[in-house]
Amino acid sequence: MSSTAELLDHLRARFPDATLELVENPGPAAQHGLRLDHTSARLIATYLREDPAWQLDYCSNVSGVDWIDREETEKVTTTVTAEDGSTAEKVEKVTRTIPGYFEVVYHLYSMARKTSEPVILRLRTANRTDDTVVPSLTPVWRSCEFQEREVYDLYGVSFTDHPDLRRILMWDEFKDHPMRKDYVEPDDYEYEPTPHATVLERAAKHYPPASPAEEGSQS
């Protein structure tokens, strides 16, 4: 935490206009991230690469994360005064929906300083539907190029100023982005059932009873 928090303070002092946020990782790894806003992301990235104190010259990994709309339930305790003057505590559950977004996570190391702990940058899209754009960091770290293409291919996040934003794993004609959490496998690809109940159920839908002519050719 300390180094990320230090970095955050340092960047806040240096880039007063930027909106920065510490994204904590509650897991045992405790690799906390730094969320950058779109306008200053490239500026800060270039600074982190060039500044002798950081020299983050190596971007080892770019990954996409799909945060779907999620609901958070909070318990709100209110004190209710009854008619006879006595008070009682009432616990209410308040549910609010947090709209989803895509996140792109960059893991940075410094070869020059031989760091072993990554500095983690995060960029978020505005939503999951029509505004799925983040600035590309390929101009800063060339190694992001293919991995940003992969995020584009599988999650549908567009990177502005990416030199060559095309699909990389799927073919160009492919529709949809298969790593999105709400991706539903289409039924028009070839599909072979295995003897599991749910699979067979789907297979029954996928392969409606064959016409007699086809049945003849299959046996």
């Binding site: 794993l169 799927m170 073919w171 160009d172 004609e173 492919f174 529709k175 298969p178 496998e185 289409p186 028009d188 690809y189 070839e190 599909y191 072979e192 295995t194 003897p195 699979v199 050719s217 299959q218 046996s219």
Partner: protein, 227 residues
């Protein structure tokens, strides 16, 4: 262990003894050989030459390729069977070892390479992926077996098959080549004028390849539970 396919055109299950020159028995031929007289037929000589110089196409698709590479190293030494010259061009190769996962993006290229190989050509499907899609069978982007588009001679199951299994598959293929006939009803596939040498290359579509299989080379076997 490897098994020979019964899907492509094969000689009858129990092949009749291979005819050497004349109508003499194998024992008599052996006897003559011991005396330094070699009797053979053009067919046998031709097959003998092809059997012992199978040049595989040099390409690997996934983890199975590592085992194929290991097979070419000194420890397993595929050179013992005359198949060590991995050719980087399909024009010079006569065996395609499909070693690994064939993604739908890669499948048209694999078929195109096979088409570019001159006859006689053979295909070994190495590993669960090349046979059926393997661990990725239920996925949306992996071809469920290369035998959907090209005829496969030898299937080598395993994930990955060990180099010994690949060598065994190669030997099975050699056995198959040895029994190929130049004439007659059991003529080898590549000598039949109407047998195709090139196979249609599938095209990319929105979710799958179009067509998803070539019915001329692939028919779905009924699942065991349906029989």
């Amino acid at each position: 262990m490897s098994e020979t396919s019964d899907r492509s055109s094969l000689p009858p299950a129990a092949p009749e003894p291979f005819p050497a020159a004349g109508n003499i028995s194998d024992e008599e031929r052996e006897e003559l050989r011991r005396h330094g007289i070699l009797l053979t037929s053009l067919e046998e000589l031709y097959n003998w030459g092809r059997t012992n110089s199978i040049w595989p196409l040099q390409f690997g698709l996934a983890c199975c390729a590592i085992e194929m590479i290991a097979t070419a190293t000194a420890r397993f030494d595929i050179a013992r069977f005359g198949a060590e010259i991995f050719r980087p061009s399909p024009r010079q190769a006569d065996l395609m070892i499909v070693s690994g996962t064939v993604t739908k993006k890669m499948a048209p290229q694999v078929v195109r390479l096979f088409n570019q190989m001159p006859e006689p050509k053979y295909c070994i499907a190495m590993g669960a992926c090349a046979i059926s899609g393997g661990p990725f069978k239920q996925g949306y982007n992996v071809l469920k077996g290369i035998d959907r588009y090209i005829p496969v001679d030898i299937y080598i199951p395993g994930c990955p098959p060990r180099p010994e299994a690949l060598l065994n598959g190669l030997i099975q293929l050699q056995e198959k080549i040895k029994t190929e006939r130049l004439k007659g009803p059991a003529t080898a596939r590549h000598l039949k004028p109407d047998a195709p040498s090139e196979y249609p290359i599938p095209e990319y579509d929105a979710h799958d390849l179009k067509p998803p299989k070539n019915p001329a080379v692939w028919t779905q076997n009924p699942l065991p539970r349906d029989q």
